[in-house]
């Protein structure tokens, strides 16, 4: 097979090129669509080719601009990176198709396509660059690319709720970026280099306590991106307000970039001090606190955001074990989770489209209303809950086996925690299913009205969950800074004032879902099921990837005396 290293930068350059073009053609939506789709399709193809190359011929390395080691910036496409690249490329392509199908309706006025396309492409480029980066500072730049793009996408339309959510997201991430820069300054001060491969060598000669500090600084930075407890609280407040496809791609990819960074840096730079216990504790708390959050929610989007956080814990669990089995399981789980979480948020978008809301208080009877939708929700939801034989189950089994093989008491505790988490995930999902899909809209309407303190004013019921909470549960206790006015503002610009029952009664809903939205969703779900069929080879692949990470020589040799 011919040398493919020249391809390595393309997954970053092509989307940027596309971003430039789509901006230049601001006035021609059609052209923009063509450009974007072509670029993303190309990226998928390239990622696939690189995956094969990395698996058959070892890591593909390119020194950009021909500035060889140790001067320039290197991009490295090894097994792990290419796998992440391929999965994310496929997911982004499908999400884009979905958002085209959606025509960003529901945000028709809010989201000018000429903002959407370039920003989305920059996001894709940033993600790809983060996976390929062989240089810590370049990793920082990659993060900034995807972050800025995400800032824009998150605040599309600038509604009250999105600005509120956006503020939390932006400020937290800017702080984490500063933290990243501080860590980089420290790393450079201590070693005089930022290239990962060189650092791997130089850090061995740095004193242990200094190395440990550097490791912890980087870990903290990445933990914020990956939303690991106690650095995870910002996520559920910020993701759910964005338009469905945006939330989907965020949930699927952004946190995983953080996980990837942790995995890469831990294994490559600090193989001797894996900080096992620290990571395991973090994983446990992430899982449990996260899933409890999911149980507490009464809006599907937020519920899913919390399961997202919670399941990050599984991956950290695998990384924390620092054994081949653990890391392999973690990688597999990442691949699974990217597809499934994205798919679920796309489905939620469909729900919003079909039923006008995602608040459990307003939903009901979706099984009857749209069996297709029910199927599209049920399958990935059960997959998320780890119901066999789907990929979630396989990933979980891999991690649990790794935990039991480890045998340490903390690992055992993690196994128990993991099992409970998946049970609670199932509970949260079954709750959603029972309320939104089984219960009839009339019942939902009646229940909302029948809530004790609600009598008299249907307006309040119609104001939706938040305000309804004000009436039902506050019992006069003025709590927090959010008063009724703020609450009402959010509810008003977030979702219509009528619940599903009323919307149906008034015939205010689209009678069916556009195929252009359903098809990408279905395709993504099909892919997630495909993961089960190819689980054998895929797991073998992640095993090989884990091997590469643990004995670092493939990476190091490829970069340092690689053929470039």
């Amino acid at each position: 097979m011919s040398d493919l290293t020249w391809m390595v930068p393309l997954p970053v350059v092509l989307p940027l090129l596309g971003a430039g073009l789509t901006l230049t053609f601001s006035h021609r939506p059609r052209a923009q669509q063509i450009v974007t789709i072509t670029v993303l399709a190309l990226v998928v193809a390239i990622a696939g080719a690189l995956l094969v190359a990395a698996d058959t011929e070892g890591p593909q390395v390119v020194w950009l601009g021909g500035w060889d080691s140790p001067l320039g910036i290197s991009l490295v496409a090894d097994r792990l990176a290419t796998l992440m690249l391929l999965v994310s490329a496929v997911v982004t392509l499908l999400v884009l198709l979905y958002s085209l199908g959606q025509g960003m309706t529901g945000d028709e006025s809010e989201t000018p396509v000429s903002v959407y396309h370039p920003t989305f492409l920059v996001l894709v480029a940033g993600v790809a660059n983060a996976f390929l980066a062989g240089d810590l500072f370049n990793l920082f730049v990659a993060f900034e690319m995807l972050l800025f793009a995400s800032y824009v996408l998150l605040t599309l339309g600038g509604t009250g709720a999105r600005i509120r959510a956006g503020t939390i997201y932006v400020v937290v991430n800017i702080l984490s970026s500063s933290l990243f820069l501080i860590s980089l300054a420290a790393v450079y001060a201590a070693t005089g280099s930022l290239n990962l491969a060189q650092l791997a060598g130089r850090l061995e000669s740095t004193p242990d306590h200094v190395a440990l500090i550097l490791q912890l600084l980087l870990l903290t930075t990445f933990a914020i991106k990956a939303a690991i407890f106690p650095l995870s609280f910002w996520l559920p407040d910020s993701y759910p307000t964005a338009p469905a496809p945006v939330t989907a791609v965020f949930a699927g990819l952004l946190t995983k970039v953080g996980v990837y960074a942790i995995l890469r840096v831990q294994t490559l730079l600090f193989p001797d001090s894996p900080l096992t216990d620290l990571l395991l504790w973090a994983a446990l708390l992430t899982m449990v606190v996260g899933i409890l959050g999911a149980v507490a929610q009464s809006d599907i989007k937020r519920m899913l955001s919390f399961t997202l956080v919670s399941h990050i814990g599984y991956m950290v669990f695998g990384i924390g074990l620092a054994s081949k089995a653990g890391i392999s399981g973690a990688i597999f789980y990442v691949a699974h989770h990217i597809t499934i979480q994205t798919a679920l948020f796309l489905v939620v978008g469909l729900i919003e489209r079909r039923a006008g809301s995602t608040a459990l208080l307003r939903l009901g009877g979706l099984v009857r209303l749209s069996p297709v939708l029910a199927l599209l929700f049920f399958v990935p939801a059960m997959n998320l809950a780890g119901i066999p034989p789907m990929s979630g189950f396989i990933g979980k089994v891999g991690l649990l086996q790794a935990g039991l093989a480890d045998g340490g008491w903390l690992a055992i505790v993690l196994v128990i925690g993991g099992v409970l988490t998946s049970l609670l995930t199932l509970y949260a999902i079954a709750k959603t299913w029972a309320l939104a899909f089984w219960r009839t809209p009339e019942q939902a309407h009646e229940m909302a009205r029948a809530l004790p303190e609600m009598e008299g004013s249907t307006e309040h019921t119609d104001q939706g969950m938040v305000v309804h909470r004000d009436h039902v549960h506050v019992a006069g206790a003025a709590f927090g800074r959010v008063d009724l006015e703020d609450a009402r503002r959010v509810v008003d610009d977030e979702s219509p004032d009528r619940d599903l029952y009323q919307l149906l009664r008034d015939g205010a809903l689209p009678s069916r879902l556009p195929g252009s939205m359903v098809l990408p969703t279905a395709a993504l779900i099909a892919i997630s099921l495909l993961l089960t069929l190819v689980a054998g080879p895929l797991f073998a692949f992640t095993d090989r990837a884990a091997d590469d990470l643990i004995d670092r020589t493939p990476y190091l040799s490829a970069v340092l005396e690689g053929d470039s």
Binding site: G126, N138, Y151, V419
Partner: protein, 962 residues
């Protein structure tokens, strides 16, 4: 075997279509697959009874020791027959049970058939994990089936209960399985059973497996979900919750018993819970009015009974168990189906309303009576045969010295036997109650109106009842068939055999006593009921479940309320505290040895530094927005000075340009915001903030001290100068680094700028990215200005009169601006070209143009800006990004790598003839992007806000006028 299982799922996938075409008759088609399975299993009878074991296995996930393995020995064969056989009958029964127009039918048919497949897979699986896969699938399908009338709240709740309870058990079981696998290195059931591991690890694993079995087979204290599950349609109850799924736990125990019945805890757990369950179920069954619920509690009782038998671990008990297993499947399914018929044809299941049904549906009555008799253990039915051998087997355990090989103490064995006897009494009692309640003609109750029952509807129960008779007579034959499984156990105290006649002896006596007491209990039902009402326990397991779930919900809310403060400040504080706690702690621990420091490289640093710090201090204190911004600007300029003093002129230049731009942008926005930050009183919180700030500052200082001192090697950049000149073709190493060595970073950086600018635009022009440029000639002259005709061709030198209200004009400023503008643009071009060798570069150049544009805007307003740059900012940036990336790609065409650059010379008139490198093209891209950025900021935060302000002013004027 795999093929058969797959066939089930395949036809399940199509069943909605079938239902769509043929309505409820589709079930007859669906029944074909289980029928084939049944015949296939039947055809194997000979080979199985010769002790043969069929095995199929495929690799699936070697990484996890997960094989797609199936095996069929005696036990699996029996289960397969039950599952498929009853499956056929129930599916056929569905064809009459449902109405064609039932909207739930398509989904139901699919799920139901799917369940049959999963159940078959479960009993055939020879890999623990595969078994778990099907185990969980049955759980999910049963969840959907229980909820198949979702409008009923009770069924939703019941479905949830069943799901949570059985999944909890299932997950415990999964961990147990993985532990076994971890120990034996395989998940193949046959291999594990062949040489079972031992030790504490095994004990725990096995107990976890038992938890799974207990939850699935509804043993106390996890029994409560089963009665609830009766919310499902009757065929579901008959199949899942009587004949097949609830037997899964029994099956698992029966499977494991030969290898693990001596594991400590096994007997204690299963025997105790089994007996309790049998008594509890019977006790509650006697109280029921809903004849379906009565059967449900009866099933709970019987399941406890079966688990006791299989967990004993003796040959005779196992044989009895197999007999009862078969018997129970037959009669319980039959009875449920009868209930369904009664329900459908009378419209009620309440035995207080039913009267004289027996006389109106005679055949069904007879079938039910036979089935009931079998349940009560009357000869000559299979139930009797089973019961007899049960008593015999338990007697062996109680009488033989070593508990017939189980090691049970005689006392324990007698207790078990007593429990079983009492349970059997209850069984007789509730059987009588059922038959009386369903069919008897009750004085004082109006005879129930019964719709005629089609033959097909009645066929299934009658067939099942028939089977109980026939099999009753072939006990020895069955014993022979079961031999291969029995041989897993040592020959017991007596030779065990299923037979109608065991001769006179205790077992027969027991049967008689049980029957007598049972019937007596039934006749005394009124008295007994009052007794029960008196004794009825205040708290049920069901209540406990609800309490637990409530607790989960509550703690979820509490924890979330605690963690999700919802405020940015809180989250930032969390992050900073983590930084202090984790790396900070290490820092403190490693501050032992001193550091080599220099106070300053040159005193000037100290002076500038002091000024900067002072500025920072006042920034923190200032309560006016503008002041804070100006002060932070000063810290910025101070930083620039420090850069310069450190030997970084490019940095200093850029910093100053950026700082100035930021200032302008700040001013543009701040004119809209209130002058003071807030009128909120200073909160005591601020001391915490100060503390946190100080701590973080100190920590960072510590990090830098530590790390700088740790440096042992030269930076990689010592290698830069040579190549920078030869290879990069530039003298200014920083510029070469930016546009060549690390051009990749720069490319990312400009894409960041593009994204940021786009974001600003999308936040300011909420509707569209296109910013409506208006040329001067499009604007009408205000009154009282002498007109000069202009058109697209002609340009005015100073458009001010036309575009600005006189009171806002400063002619001098405008004139000066017009004069310096082009000079600045020219300068920028020079910087762009010279950048490679001297201070400058694309970025600085772009910023200079940006400044020029700002001045134009500030002097002449937004129209002047559009005159200066009549182009859409977005397009400009996009083009810039395009140029840069294209420049990056070009080298690929010449077989180079991305961003590779080549050097060449050319003339540029007065600007001299510098070395040109292709990377210049890249730099041009940067240049354009930066100009675009500034233009964009001016258009959005400048022009657009102008318009908004203007609009508001006009609105106010309107308001005043009106």
């Amino acid at each position: 075997m795999l093929a058969l299982v797959a066939a089930h799922f395949a036809i399940a996938a199509f069943s909605p279509a079938f239902v769509h075409w043929w309505g409820r008759r589709a079930f007859l088609v669906l029944a074909s697959v289980p029928l084939v399975t049944f015949l296939w299993a039947l055809s194997l009878t000979g080979r199985i009874s010769d002790g043969e074991v069929l095995v199929q296995a495929w690799e699936w996930l070697p990484g996890l020791h997960l094989e797609l393995a199936f095996a069929m020995g005696t036990l699996q064969w029996l289960m397969a027959l039950i599952v498929s056989g009853i499956g056929v009958l129930v599916l056929a029964y569905c064809a009459w049970y449902f109405a064609d127009d039932d909207p739930a039918l398509p989904m139901f048919s699919g799920v139901f058939t799917g369940f049959a497949g999963a159940m078959l897979g479960l009993v055939l699986a020879d890999d623990l994990l595969i078994l778990f896969v099907f185990w969980e699938l049955t759980t999910v399908f049963s969840y959907l089936l229980i909820g198949s009338d979702p409008a009923k709240r009770a069924s939703r709740v019941a479905a949830m209960q069943a799901l949570i309870v059985t999944t909890l058990g299932g997950l415990a079981m999964l961990v147990g399985m993985l532990m076994l696998g971890e120990q034996t290195g395989t998940h193949r059931i046959s291999e594990i059973l062949a040489d079972p591991p031992s030790g504490d690890w095994t004990t725990i694993a096995v107990i976890l497996l038992l938890v799974g079995a207990i939850s699935k087979s509804a043993l106390f204290p996890l029994h409560f979900w089963l009665p609830g599950a009766m919310a499902a349609p009757t065929p579901v109850s008959a199949y899942l919750h009587a004949a097949s799924m609830v037997k899964a736990g029994v099956y698992l125990v029966a499977l494991m018993a030969p290898a693990f019945s001596h594991v400590p805890g096994w007997h204690e757990i299963v025997l105790t819970l089994g007996v309790i369950t049998m008594l509890l179920g019977g006790w509650r069954a006697i109280r029921q009015y809903d004849i379906k619920l009565l059967l449900a509690y009866g099933t709970v009782s019987q399941l406890g009974f079966l688990l006791v038998l299989f967990s004993e671990g003796t040959r005779s008990a196992t044989l009895a168990g197999l007999g009862m297993l078969l018997a129970h499947a037959l009669f319980k399914a039959a009875l449920f189906l009868v209930v369904g018929i009664i329900d459908r044809s009378t419209g009620t299941r309440d035995l207080r309303e039913l009267s004289g049904v027996g006389s109106q549906m005679r055949w069904i009555g007879i079938a039910a009576t036979l089935a009931g008799a079998s349940m009560a253990g009357l000869p000559p039915l299979l139930g009797f045969v089973g019961k007899e051998s049960v008593f015999a087997a338990l007697l062996d355990v109680a009488q033989s010295p070593d508990g017939d090989g189980t090691g049970l103490s005689p006392l324990a064995a007698w207790v078990v036997l007593g429990g079983i006897l009492l349970g059997s009494v209850f069984t007789v009692a509730y059987t009588a109650r059922f038959l009386w309640g369903a069919f008897a003609t009750k004085p004082g109750t109006a005879p129930t109106v019964v719709r005629p029952v089609p033959v097909g509807f009645a066929a299934s129960p009658i067939l099942l009842a028939g089977a109980t008779i026939v099999l009753g007579f072939v006990g020895p034959g069955l014993t022979h068939l079961f031999e291969p499984h029995l041989e897993l156990y040592p020959e017991g105290y007596h030779h065990a055999e299923l037979a109608l006649w065991h001769g006179l002896g205790l077992p027969l006596l027991f049967s008689l006593i049980v029957f007598a007491l049972g019937t007596w209990l039934f006749t005394k039902r009124i008295v007994f009921s009052q007794l029960q009402a008196a004794l009825s326990p205040s708290r049920s397991a069901d209540g406990a479940y609800r309490a637990v779930m409530r607790f989960v919900d509550r703690s979820a809310v509490e924890v979330t309320g605690l963690a999700q403060r919802g405020s940015v400040a809180a989250y930032l504080a969390f992050i900073l505290l983590v930084v202090l706690a984790v790396p900070g702690a290490v820092l403190i621990s490693s501050l032992g040895d001193g550091f080599d420091v220099v106070v300053w490289d040159n005193p000037a640093q100290a002076v500038v530094g002091a000024l900067t710090i002072v500025a920072a201090f006042f920034t923190v204190r200032s309560r006016r927005r503008m002041r804070a911004v100006v002060l932070v600007g000063i810290t910025g300029y101070g930083t620039a000075m420090l850069f310069l003093l450190h030997g970084a002129p490019d940095l200093a230049l850029t910093q100053i340009l950026v700082e100035t731009t930021s200032l302008v942008v700040f001013v543009l926005v701040l004119r809209r915001l209130p002058e003071y930050f807030t009128d909120r009183p200073l909160s005591p919180r601020r001391y915490l903030r100060m503390a946190l700030g100080a701590a973080v500052g100190i920590a960072v200082a510590g990090f830098m001290l530590l790390t700088t001192n740790a440096r042992s090697e030269d930076p990689v950049s010592v290698g830069f100068p040579g190549p920078a000149l030869e290879y990069g073709g530039g003298r200014s190493i920083v510029s070469v680094t930016l546009v060549d060595i690390r051009a990749w970073d720069t490319m990312g950086e400009i894409s960041v700028l593009v994204a940021a600018a786009t974001g600003v635009a999308s936040l300011v022009f909420l509707d569209t990215r296109i910013s409506g440029i208006r040329r001067v000639y499009q604007i009408p002259y205000p009154e009282a200005v002498q007109k000069i005709p202009t058109g697209p061709g002609r340009r005015v030198w100073l458009p001010g009169p036309r575009t600005l209200s006189p009171d806002r004009r400063s002619i001098i400023f405008e004139v000066v601006t017009r004069l310096i503008f082009h000079t600045m643009v020219l300068l920028s071009v020079y910087l762009l070209l010279a950048g490679h060798n001297h201070v400058g570069g694309g970025f600085a150049a772009g910023m200079v143009v940006g400044l020029a544009l700002m001045v134009r805007y500030l002097a002449g307003g937004r129209y002047e800006l559009d005159e200066a740059a009549p182009i859409d900012a977005g397009v400009l940036m996009g083009f810039g990004l395009f140029v840069a990336t294209a420049a990056a790609l070009v080298p690929l065409a010449f077989g180079g790598t991305v961003l590779q650059s080549a050097e060449f010379h050319f003339h540029l008139g007065i600007l001299g003839d510098p070395h040109m490198v292709t990377s210049l093209l890249f730099d041009v891209g940067v240049y354009l992007v930066v100009i675009g950025l500034i233009l964009d900021l001016l258009r959005t935060l400048g022009s657009r806000l102008d318009r908004q302000i203007l609009r508001e002013e006009r609105a106010e004027e309107q308001a005043v006028r009106l």
